[in-house]
């Protein structure tokens, strides 16, 4: 076993001693990954991992480095990028990834990518297969 592999195993034991909590947290995160397109409540996400919402938020931040809400927004924007790249319309993408308001979608998209959804779509349209248009 290499020096690095040994260090990883040591760190795993020291930093993540409670494996069941990590498992529960991952379960909640998977719930976000699978249901990001629907309106999600914090209570509901935390309950998926059998955690109280306050403990869930604290644990999520310590393991993933961001809040569950920030992660949810990130997942939605990443999926929006794919759908925009595939040629779907702004309003269809907005609804599909779980945003209720087009205005807040545009604002968050610009904040996280540096582009408006329309300019992002234009920039990536040359990567699309010829003739592939859905809007």
């Amino acid at each position: 076993m290499t020096f690095y592999a040994t260090q990883v195993l040591k760190m795993e034991k020291a930093i993540y001693p409670k494996k069941h909590l990590t498992r529960q947290l991952i379960q909640s995160k998977h719930f976000i990954d699978q249901h990001f397109g629907k309106p999600l409540q914090l209570d509901q996400i935390a309950a998926e991992g059998f955690l109280s919402k306050f403990y869930f938020v604290r644990l999520f931040k310590s393991l993933y480095g961001c809040s569950p809400y920030q992660y949810l927004i990130w997942v939605r924007i990443e999926n929006a990028k794919q759908l925009l790249g595939a040629g779907f319309s702004l309003s269809d993408v907005c609804t599909a990834v779980g945003f209720e308001s087009v205005t807040s979608f545009i604002g968050l998209f610009k904040k996280m990518t540096g582009y408006t959804p329309a300019s992002y779509q234009k920039k990536n349209s040359n990567l699309r297969e010829p003739g592939f248009r859905k809007n």
């Binding site: 290499t2 690095y4 592999a5 195993l9 760190m11 947290l25 393991l63 990536n124 990567l127």
Partner: protein, 120 residues
């Protein structure tokens, strides 16, 4: 930093699945970059020639200790491990869970360990 740019280009494109972006001859070496197939307008990975003697020592020691030079994010480490081992890639660390991540480390055949990371 790669020990052989042509060998590196072959490995990073044909085995790992990157796409060549820039190849500009610069005397003995070249400015050579590859990008992710899924995000060809994204970050470019420079396959930099090993032209600085002390860097060779650094690379050699990192490699010996099994420390990755860099890491690539993937959707499924187990799947990549299976795909790459079938192509003869050698892993110094099999897929291993590290808290909320799963990691694995392989030899890029050009003097480096590369880590794959999956957020679980």
């Amino acid at each position: 930093m790669v020990s052989d740019q042509d060998k590196a280009l072959k490995f990073y494109t044909e085995v790992l699945g990157f796409v060549k972006k820039i190849e500009v001859p610069m005397g003995e070496h070249k400015w050579l970059t590859v990008v992710s197939r899924e995000e060809q307008g994204g970050v470019e990975l420079l396959l930099e020639p090993m032209g600085f003697e002390p860097a060779k020592t650094f690379q050699k020691e990192l490699f010996k200790a099994g420390i990755p030079l860099t890491a690539f994010h993937v959707d499924d480490v187990e799947m990549e491990y299976k795909r790459l081992t079938q192509q003869g890639v050698i892993f110094s660390m099999k897929p291993t869970q590290m808290g909320p991540t799963k990691i694995a480390v392989f030899n890029d055949t050009c003097g480096n360990n590369i880590q794959l990371v999956q957020m679980l």
